[in-house]
Every structure is written in structure tokens, then in C-alpha cells.
């Protein structure tokens, strides 16, 4: 579960369910600078598909990786613009 990314900020949305992981991720990304990476830690299994879909449909972000283990879902999102 270790990551090779240089994480700038970690967002803990454990326990929160749809639509909170995506909405909070968007808010946290807005506070970052270009090139910085946000780590999102969630327990909502739907966040795997939702954050992937959000990143694909949103300008200026790139989903670098997603990890899953022990009921925890981690997402690494870079702000690209």
C-alpha cells in the first residue's frame, strides 16, 4: 500500500458516502497548485468508480492511481492546470 507519489495534501473522507468523496475531492483540488498531488482516503467502495469518472470528466485533473485494501480506498489525483 505504499505509494511513490509526492503527496501534497491528504483528504480523509472515511465513513462518508456518495456524493461526498467526489464533492470533497473537488473542493480540496481547488485549494491546490498546479502539479501538486492530492491523496484521498475513503471507505466508500463506490468511490473507485466515482472518482475515476469524475477525473475523466473534469478538466485540469489527472487520476494517477487508485489503491484498495482492508476496506480502504486510496486515490491519487494530480492538479494539472
Amino acid at each position: 500500500m505504499s505509494t511513490k507519489f509526492d503527496v501534497t495534501e491528504t483528504l480523509d473522507v472515511q465513513g462518508a458516502s456518495c456524493p461526498m468523496p467526489v464533492v470533497k475531492t473537488k473542493q480540496a483540488i481547488d485549494d491546490l497548485e498546479e502539479g501538486e498531488v492530492l491523496e484521498v482516503v475513503a471507505t466508500d467502495s463506490g468511490s473507485m468508480s466515482d472518482i475515476e469518472g469524475w477525473a475523466a470528466g473534469t478538466d485540469g485533473v489527472e487520476l494517477l492511481a487508485q489503491e484498495e485494501g482492508d476496506g480502504v480506498y486510496k486515490h491519487y489525483v494530480e492538479k494539472t492546470a
Partner: protein, 192 residues
């Protein structure tokens, strides 16, 4: 004018080169039009007409998520949908036990006094246990992320509501024409 059934020689059928040229012209025109329309920001309009606890969630969840995508979102609330924006009533939305095939009881029982209250309490408990956001939280979240929550003026008056009954930030003084205008420009239109 020449007959349709008898194309006369080479003048009638365009050559492949002409067709290709035409295609290029049209593609260029399309690109110009797309540029003229400007940004590719998506737009969504939802019309929310129901004020039960279960029907209050989908518009707000979709609206706040669409806002996270950077979309321009309007939710137009009319009839019982107004209760979602009503500060007091929104904290007290009910679930109907009758006519809901998902309820674990027959309609004859569900119609008894107190059954709606019981069904509502059960759902509220589930919402709490599952850490699902409350309606109030979703409204604040939607307003914070720039969603335009509109309350239909005609039904405000019909239901004897006051503009002050609604959450701060709710748009009042709008009607069907305002909703239609946004709908016509929208990529997604939903009636809930």
C-alpha cells in the same frame, strides 16, 4: 430541371474529390461554430417536483456532483419539491409507506395511522448509520458549489409559503420561462 430518375452524365454525380472538399468545408464550419459557442462547460437542469425524503435525494446528489465536474447547474423546484428548499420542512421530510412496493408490508397495513412516521424513522436511522449526508447538508453543499436552487414563484404562492421560509441563497421570483431557458441550453435535463 433535369429528371431525378435519369441523371444525365457527369454533371449530376459529384466526384469523390468534390465530396471530400465539401466534407472539409463542413468540418471547418463546425469547428468555427464550436469555437463561437465558446467554452465546453456542460449544463444541467433538474426539475424537482416531489417532497418526500426519498425523492429529495436524487436531485441534490446529482446537482452537487455535477457542480464538482464544473457544470453549470440549475435545480428548479416546483409543487412539493419546494419543501426541499423550505428550511423547516426540509428537516422533516417524510417517507410514504403506502404505494411503495419496496416496503416490507402490504398497503392495507401501511395505510394505518403512524406507518408513514415509522417508515420515515426507519429510513432516517439508516441514513444516520450509513453516514449518508442529510438533505440540509446537501443543500448547503450545493449552494456552496454554485448550484442555482430555484423556487418556482407560482407554487410558492399556491402553497402559501413566504420567500423567507427558504434557505439563504435560494433563487425566488422565477417561473417556467426561466427554467425552460436554462433547459434549452442544457446537456442534461431531468424531471424528478
Amino acid at each position: 430541371m433535369s429528371s431525378d430518375t435519369q441523371p444525365s452524365g457527369d454533371a449530376a454525380a459529384p466526384t469523390e474529390a468534390e465530396l471530400r472538399q465539401r466534407l472539409e468545408d463542413l468540418e471547418a464550419q463546425l469547428a468555427d461554430l464550436e469555437a463561437a459557442v465558446g467554452d465546453d462547460q456542460k449544463q444541467m437542469t433538474i426539475v424537482a417536483t416531489k417532497g418526500t425524503l426519498d425523492m429529495a435525494y436524487p436531485p441534490l446528489i446529482l446537482a452537487s456532483t455535477a457542480a464538482a465536474f464544473g457544470w453549470d447547474v440549475v435545480v428548479f423546484h416546483t409543487f412539493w419539491g419546494l419543501d426541499i428548499l423550505h428550511e423547516e420542512k426540509s428537516k422533516n421530510l417524510k417517507l410514504s409507506a403506502v404505494g411503495n412496493p419496496s416496503m416490507p408490508m402490504p398497503n392495507a397495513l401501511a395505510a394505518l395511522p403512524g406507518m408513514d412516521a415509522m417508515a420515515t424513522r426507519m429510513m432516517e436511522k439508516k441514513i444516520d448509520e450509513n453516514n449518508t449526508a442529510t438533505i440540509e447538508e446537501l443543500i448547503e453543499l450545493s449552494l456552496d458549489s454554485g448550484v442555482d436552487l430555484q423556487a418556482c414563484q407560482m407554487t410558492i404562492e399556491l402553497m402559501d409559503y413566504d420567500e423567507d421560509d427558504f434557505y439563504d441563497g435560494v433563487t425566488t421570483g422565477v417561473g417556467a420561462a426561466t427554467a425552460l431557458q436554462h433547459m434549452a441550453d442544457s446537456d442534461v435535463q431531468l424531471l424528478v
